[in-house]
Every structure is written in C-alpha cells, then in structure tokens.
C-alpha cells in the first residue's frame, strides 16, 4: 500500500525545501540538530498546521481553549514526528552519501548538524512550481519560530507543542 506520509521522497523534498528556505547551504551556516527536521516536515507540507501556530501564538490560552480539531492535529504532528525519527535519520544519511546534503557531528555527542549542498543537484528542482505551497509554509514557520535553525531540540518542542498545552517527553534515543 502506498502511504504518502512516510515516503522517502516526501521526506526528501520537504527537508530540502526547508533547508533551502532557511539558507542552510554552507558549512558556516549549518542547521543545528537533524532531529528537529522530523517534526518540522509536517509543518512544511501542511498550511493548516502552520495556521494553528499562527493563530494561537499570541493568545492567552488559559482563558481561551484551543479548538478540539486543531489540538488533535497538533498532537498528531508531534506523534508523527516521534515515529518518523529513525526513518528521517536513515534518509538524511543516505542523502549525505550522495552528497546532496552534508552531515557533521557537533561537539555535543547527541547533536548532529546538516547543511544543503546546492551545487550537487539540479538548480531547477527547488524552483519548481509544484512546491509553491511548501516554500510558503517553510517561510512562514521560519518567521513564526525565532532562530529556528539554531535552536536546540527542547526549545523547538517547547515552541511548537508545550506552549500550547501539549506535553512532550524525552524519548528519542
């Protein structure tokens, strides 16, 4: 059965678009902690998810409850992010093998960084019209979450989930 959510190509194009929009294309401009990508993938492809973050960001959540459907979507995206982790890592290592991206360990043992090697693939690819929505979403989420490329994982999860009342847990070994 063809499941679009876990398709390697899907992960490939969303990650590449995100890295490109964030201009993480040199060793001097690395994207910190590849584990963040697994969560960000759904935000790149779903306008709705980005909207949720947009809408609730400045509201006082104690006094205004988040709508059930929105909350469900957000929780699901966290769960998907967790479940996808190994998959994404495997894919990114394979992309590194083909030199589409470069992966480098940081001083912190747990953290691996990544940047896009834009010279190693066709320039037209990221310019394709078909990715218009993805590029817009990536731009938006980058604006909504400050310094998204250098945040560490915990901070990101705080910004995307904890602030909206969704509990996260440390289980990404």
């Amino acid at each position: 059965m063809f499941a679009t959510g876990d398709d390697y190509y899907y992960i490939t194009y969303t990650s590449m678009i995100l890295l490109s929009v964030m201009k993480r294309n040199k060793p001097e401009k690395q994207f910190r902690d590849i584990r963040k990508l697994s969560f960000l993938i759904d935000f790149v492809s779903s306008e709705r998810l980005v909207n949720i973050v947009e809408r609730y960001q400045n509201r006082d959540l104690v006094h205004s409850e988040m709508n059930t459907e929105d909350r469900e979507l957000l929780v699901n995206s966290y769960a998907n992010g967790l479940l996808r982790q190994q998959h994404v890592l495997k894919l990114l290592f394979a992309l590194d093998n083909r030199e589409i991206v470069s992966i480098k360990k940081s001083e912190d043992k747990e953290v691996i960084n990544i940047w896009l090697n834009e010279d190693n693939f066709s320039k037209d690819f990221l310019k394709l019209d078909v990715f218009k929505k993805e590029k817009e979403n990536a731009k938006k989420i980058t604006k909504l979450v400050q310094r998204i490329s250098v945040l560490n994982l915990d901070t990101l999860l705080e910004g995307l989930y904890e602030n909206y009342g969704i509990k996260t847990w440390q289980d990404y070994a």
Partner: protein, 640 residues
Amino acid sequence: MARLRIKKLKYSATKYYYESPDFVDGINILAGFNGAGKSTFSDLIYFGLGGRVEQFIPGGDNPHTQIVEDTNQQVILTISIDNVPFVLKRSIGSNNISVVESEGNVTAFAINRSKNEPRIFSDWLLEKLKIDVIELYQGSQKWKINSSDIFRLIYYNQELDPTKIFKSPDKGSNFISDSVTIRKAIFQILTGKTFNDYYVNLNNLKLAEQARNEAKAVLHGYEEMIRNLNPEAEDVNSVFINEQIANINESLERLNTERLASQEMRISNNEVEPIFDELKTQLVWNEEELRRTRRKLKEVTEELIGIRRVESNIQDDSSKIKKIISTHDKLNLFDANTCPYCLNTVSREEGKCFCGGDVDEMQYERFFYSTVEYADILKSKQKSLATMKTAAESCDAEKLELEEKILSLTSSSEGLSERLRSIVIESNEDLNTEKLKLIEDKIFSLKKELNKLEQQREIVENKEVYQAKYSTAKSSYDRFFRDDKILSATSENEMEEVLADFNTMYSELLTSSVENIHIATINHENYMPVINNKAYREASSSVAERLMYYFTLLHVSLSHSQIKFPRFLLIDTPKTAGVDDAKLKRALKQLASILPEGKTMEDFQVILTTGKGQIPDEFSSFVFKELVEPEHLLIRRANS
C-alpha cells in the same frame, strides 16, 4: 413449360423487303455465302422479339445502311406461344412494339422501361412464356428481369469471345447486366423448376424484411421515447389502465353526487366530527412525513461531510504524489533497486529479497516505485476523486430535493392547522364550506390522477398498435424466410437432377464433336463449362463448347417439361476465319443427338443460319432457303 415458335418473318420497307416461308417445327436452315445477309436474318427475328440490334439503330456505330437508310421499315414477326398465335410489329428506330392477337386486339407496348410505363413488352412476353418478372437485389441495387436477358441463352449470335458462352447483354438494358449473379440467375430461371417461385419469394422476403425492420424501428423508437418522457407508462398495459380509469371515474361520480348533496343541506352536529378527524389525520400524516424528511436530510448532510473529507484527503495525497514524481524525476535518488534498509542501490532478482532469500513477488512490500508506477497510483487516486465528486453531487441534489420537500410539507401543515383552528371556533356555515373543500380537494387530486392516466393510456395504446404491427410484419417475414429455405433446398435438389442430365449430355456432345475433349461438365457455382477437368488444351474448340451448351439447354428443356426454357434456339453460326468447316459441320450434326426418349423433332424449333459448306448432310432437307450469289436476303423493290 411454354413453347415459343416463330412462324414467319416479314420485313417491309420502301426500297427493300423480305418474306420468309412458314417455318416448321424442328430445324430450319438458311444457308448462304458470307455477306448474304444471314446475320441480318437472325437480327431481324431478334429485333422482332423486342431485342436491341446495334446495326439497326439510326446514327449508331456500325449501321446496316440498307435498312437504316430506308423508310417505312417494319418488321412483322408471326409467332405462337403454346400454340396461341400472335403477330408482333415493330418499326426500325421505334421503341414501341405492337402485339396483335388472333381476335384482332392490338396492344402497343414500350420496349424500354420508364416511370410512365408500368408494363412493357418484355413483361408481356415473359408473362406469356410463364416466366415471372422477378426483381433481383444486388447490394442496394435492384433490377427487373428482361426478356432480352433470357434470350442470352436462346439466341446464339456472332460473338467475339465464345468462351463467355452467354450472348452479350443488350447495351443499356441493366447496368449490372453482366455480373456473374445475373448470368447465374438467368441459367437458373431457364432450367430450374421452382426457381421462379424461389425468386418471387426472395423478393417478398426482402420486402417483408424491410417492413419488419421499419415496424421494429418505429416500435423501439416509440418505446425509447416513453422511457425518456414518461417512464411510468413503460410497463403497464391498456387493460390495466382502463380499469384504473374506470375506478377513478366511478369515484368521481360518487364525489360529485356528494358535493351536490352537501351544497343543499345544512350540516348537522354529528357531521363535524368526521370532518375534524379527516383534517387531523392529514395533519398527523404531514407532521410524520416532515419528521421523516428532516431525519433524512440530516443523514444526507452528514454523508456529504464525510464525502468531502475523503475528497480532501485524496486531493492531498494526489498533490503529494505529484511532488514525489517531480522529485524523482529531477533527483532520481531511489528506484526499485534501492534497498530500503541502507538506501543503497543494489540489483535485485525477481522472486528474491535484497538479502537473497526467496519471496513471493506479489506479496513483496514495495518502498520505491518507478515513474510509471507513481503515475498509475496518481491516476487511480484521480479516478477515486472523480467518484467522490459524483457522489458529492448526487448528495447535493438529494439535499436540495429534501429541503424543497420540507418547505412544501411545512406550508401544508400550516394550512391544515389553520383550517382545524377555524373549524373549532367557526359557525355551521363554515363547517359546510370546510366539508365541501375536503370533497373538492379529493376531486381535484383524482382529476389530476385521471389526466395522468389518460395520457398514459394514449401512449400505451399507441405502443400496443405498434407492437401489433411489428408482430404481423415479423410473422410475415418469418413465413417468407421459412419458405425461402424450403424453396432454396427444393430448387437445389431439382437442379441436381437437371444438372446431372446437362453434364451427361454436354459431355456426350462435346466428346463427339471435338477430338481432344474427354470430359465436359459445368461448374456448380457459376454454370460455366469445365473441360477436361481444366487441363490445358487449344482454344479452337470454344465455338463448339458454346454451341453444345445451347444444344444441351434445348435437350434438358425437352427432358424436363416443367422448366422454362422455351424449346427454341436461334443460331447464327460464326463465319470468322479459324472456324474449320469440317469441325463446324461436326458440331452442328450433334443437334440430331439431343432428343430424349419419347420426343421428336416436332417438339422443338431451331432456326439456323450457316454457310453452305457447313451443313451436315443429314440436315440438307431442313434448308428452307439457300442464298447463292448474287442473291442477297433483302430484295430490292422493282419500283425503287
């Protein structure tokens, strides 16, 4: 079975004339030198019988000047058919021919068929010869058989190519005159016993088929129309509808009486309750229906939401697949040879896993697909999308219907409530009005029903008429079809007998007259000669082949009394170079051998022209005239 005899030929014009002696039964021979006028003689007879002779046509290609440039030229042919005498008169250049009967009646006939001439000379002659004027269909063309068609096997004339056997058709008679079908039909008509009946029936069959198809088309067209415009009328019959109509008329009568009665009487108290009950029942039913409809509307709305959700999911999937296809197209990272574990390219054999173990190809989980496979997946998503769209549309339509129904039910509920309210508080007068109103409501709805039924009845009755017409046309066709099979089989059986006889005689005649022929038959399919089983031999025997063919026809007409060949031959023997006198004599001699048991020379007639040196000795007594130089056939009148 009819017998044609020529008694006398007379040609009369201003400058020239000719009169033959009375011809006899058996063989009549005109002998003469080349150019004496032997062919003219035969052509005059053929002309007198309604045939077309190119040389007698003024302004034609190769005119016989003596005849054509003369004036007042008339050909008078005395004949008898089955012993009934007739005189045929025809002028050169005329397309009319007169038939004089023994009582003195004269009828003029046209030679050529045209819109103004329903019955022409050929029709008359064929009728007398007891040959039905049949129409043959070839594709979409049809043609009526002509006497000149029949004469192609009776008049042995000068032909450039004797292998064709048949005389060439008269120019312009039937434009498809010389097809194999026509020649076959001519042979069959002359030698088959029931072939006439067969062709008559075939004609009827074709007409019946046309009639049946038309009736069917009309019926089906009408049924289609009913299906589209008035589907309720599709399956009912007129008896049933008439019953319903009668019932309604009865009820209407009853109601009308009631109405009249109500208009007179004052309403009493114990009539209030039934009226009240009636209205209440209607209201209750209405409310119930309203509740039901609202429930249904809710269901349909929920269904619609569900469909929309699935639609949007498929839409998302489709757009994702498009992006995956673009990515695969540009980056070409993974394909069917990519190991899903390490994402490296490795070649995998069919029926084997990446690890080398055996797998069932059908059950093997796929992680990567080819561009074509992605495209297929996309296509199937789009098909599902289309299905969803259709489902959504029909839900929408249903929703609309239900909403309308709710509106109408709500308003009628309100109306009924109003009426109930007024009954309770109003006077006697109004009660009466209310009662009348109820009756009138009933009458109105029954009249609507009646109208609808009457329309249906008309439609159904029409349909039944068309059905009956179709049934009749079909059974008529079936009858002709069955007869066609029977006649065809019967004819073929009878043909077998005649053909066997033909083959035997033909073979005998040819082997007797041509040295190197051992066996001769005719082909069952096209009745053309098959000599020596088609082994090669010289062409010089083609004259004999043709001549014996005619002789054999004469023979079978004598052996089989029911066949139509009129026991007559008109022969103008060839005088072209290359026809050996001795050979021709030998061929002509065979005429003596054709008599079947019990028949004599009295039973047929042959009129023959030939050169002096070609007459078999046994036939010398049959010569009625010998033209010796300088005597020609046509005699110049003394005064001209």
